[in-house]
């Protein structure tokens, strides 16, 4: 989708700035880059640093604190145990399942309702106080209620994530529609465009960058809300692992679970930036 990015560029770029090809010239970053050694050396340095930190954690004296801070070897063996008995995969999948299902349904509902609200003026005028009240409520506070309604399984977390994501997309869709330049619409109308053509040629392309931006941010929001829900009450998921081991004062298990979380979020972030790169080429 090349023109989506162009649209964003068109809207975000400084309108007063005329000629194409703005080049900031060699900046601070490039000059710093030259001081840092090349690829292999850099990777080696990082690995060495990591190994040193782990060794220090493992072998530095301080046996009285071990119960609280654990050590890398115990954490590693917990992780291996989880991989062997399937705990790891099951819980990662549980988290991802809630997250992706809530995200997908939330995006569809949010954009759909946003279009409805943005385009049907009376709906907006009548319902806006309620929507505002619902919007300003931190959705995480609904977890106890959702647990009463749906139990501690998939549904309560799914509903929470759906709610959070759909509110995000709802509000950015409505904002996108409100920010459409009325003069663009009028210009097309004067050319004889029908309502339907205005929708397809002005409205949808104009709100596309708003929706894309919001969808990108919503990935992180969906992930963190899934985790929060799992931490509060759940029977599976990465957050569930963390809170379970923490409740048992099992430092190695807690660290292992947090490590899993780090790995998953790194993969997720990387995936997201790959998708973005693909979409913007």
């Amino acid at each position: 989708m090349p023109d989506a990015q162009q649209a964003a560029a068109g809207i975000l770029s400084d309108p007063g700035h005329d000629g194409p090809g703005y080049d900031p010239g060699p900046g601070v970053m490039t000059r710093l880059g030259r001081l840092v050694p090349g690829g292999a050396a850099r990777a080696l340095g990082r690995l060495g640093l990591l190994a040193a930190a782990l060794a220090a954690w493992q072998y530095l004296p301080g046996s009285e604190g071990r119960f609280w801070i654990s050590d890398p070897i115990s954490i590693g063996s917990v992780l291996l145990g989880w991989i062997a008995d399937g705990t790891l995969l099951r819980n990662i999948l549980a988290t991802l399942e809630v997250m992706t299902a809530g995200y997908a349904v939330g995006c569809v509902c949010g954009i759909g309702l946003g279009l409805l609200f943005g385009l049907v003026r009376p709906l907006d005028t009548v319902l806006s106080p309620f929507v505002f009240a619902a919007y300003s409520l931190p959705k995480i506070a609904l977890i106890p209620l959702l647990i009463i309604l749906y139990g501690i399984g998939f549904e309560s977390k799914f509903v929470l994530v759906t709610l959070v994501v759909s509110f995000m997309l709802f509000s950015s869709t409505v904002d996108g529609i409100r920010n459409i330049d009325r003069d663009l619409v009028q210009a097309l109308r004067l050319m004889g465009a029908t309502q339907d053509e205005i929708l397809r040629k002005v409205l949808l392309p104009a709100i596309r960058p708003w929706i894309f931006t919001s969808m990108r941010i919503a990935v992180n929001t969906a992930f963190s809300n899934t985790l929060l829900a799992e931490l509060l009450a759940a029977n599976s998921g990465i957050g569930f692992l963390i809170i379970t081991y923490s409740n048992q004062y099992d430092a190695a298990g807690t660290y292992a679970a947090v490590l899993v979380l780090v790995a998953v979020s790194v993969v997720l972030t990387e995936l997201l930036s790959q998708v973005e790169r693909y979409m913007s080429v």
Binding site: Q6, A7, G10, D181, D183, L184, M191, G192, A193, T194
Partner: protein
């Protein structure tokens, strides 16, 4: 000029048909427009009468804020007159007037479309069924006409103000509306390019037999192009004087400035305008 030749090739073969006294295209009678800001009612226009015949080129000049744009907005159906009537083809304008092409002062290009795609947009609408090949040919001709060859794939944000203006002009001209409302279309262009554009505008509107209402703050531009020049007073805008330009059209845009008739009219109208400009700037 080569560009003008290109245009003549695609021109209407009936263009040379002799016509008896053309009927009125736009009739404005007693047009008054007032607007309220912070409880204060301001008259932008006061009792304006103006009738424009088919194929006539009328230029509106006046100090800024005198309501010239309001006249265009009323003809386009974007504004309702507070008092008075605006007729188009003998019928009052009550809704958006889709038979005109309006090049407003603000550029309304779609930022997510390239220059070529912006120019093309009118040909994509259902009301103007055009084959892809025909649309492409027209777009190419328009790009050539407004001198934007090589910038077809640029987005509006990558074009200069003058270039955007030309894209907007091409976008309006491509569907050959029967009447054109132009609001200071060439303000952002440099002097040479402006002359070229004026020449092209004259050629095109003559060939296509388009009625033109042309708002400008440049008296020279108005006299070079128009059959009649209307000078507005400062706010509330009234018509101060209307003069026929006694030079037959089409004119040599590049040399008309040296015509003694041009100089005489310019001086006369400048005297009218100058008082108003002074009045209009008492901020």
């Amino acid at each position: 000029m080569q560009l003008a030749d290109n245009l003549r090739q695609v021109g209407d073969p009936a263009a040379d048909r002799p016509a008896a006294d053309p009927p009125f295209k736009v009739e404005i009678t007693g047009l008054t427009h007032s607007f309220a800001t912070r409880g204060k009612v301001t008259d932008a226009l006061s009792a304006v009468d103006l009738a424009v015949r088919e194929r006539e080129f009328v230029a509106l000049v006046g100090p800024s804020g005198c309501g010239k744009t309001t006249v265009l907005n009323c003809v386009a159906g974007l504004l309702r007159p507070t008092r008075g009537t605006v007729n188009y083809d003998g019928k009052p304008v009550t809704a958006l007037n889709t038979r005109i092409g309006y090049l407003s002062q603000k550029d309304t290009l779609l930022p997510w479309r390239t220059a070529a795609d912006n120019i093309r947009i009118a040909m994509e609408l259902k009301c103007r069924p055009t084959s892809r090949a025909a649309a492409n040919a027209k777009v190419a001709a328009m790009i050539d006409l407004v001198g934007l060859k090589g910038f077809e794939r640029h987005y509006p944000a990558e074009l200069s103000g003058g270039m955007r203006k030309r894209v907007a002009l091409a976008r309006t001209l491509i569907y050959e509306p029967e009447a054109l409302l132009l609001d200071e279309p060439f303000g952002a262009l440099d002097a040479q390019l402006r002359l070229i554009m004026l020449d092209q505008l004259q050629t095109l509107t003559t060939i296509r037999r388009i009625t033109v209402l042309f708002v400008t703050h440049d008296l020279g531009e108005a006299i070079s192009l128009a059959d009649r020049v209307v000078v507005f007073s400062a706010r509330p805008g009234r018509i101060r004087v209307i003069r026929d330009v006694p030079i037959p059209r089409p004119r040599d845009i590049f040399r008309v400035r040296f015509d003694p008739r041009f100089a005489r009219l310019h001086e006369e109208l400048w005297d009218e305008l100058k008082d108003e400009v002074v009045k209009g700037t008492d901020i």
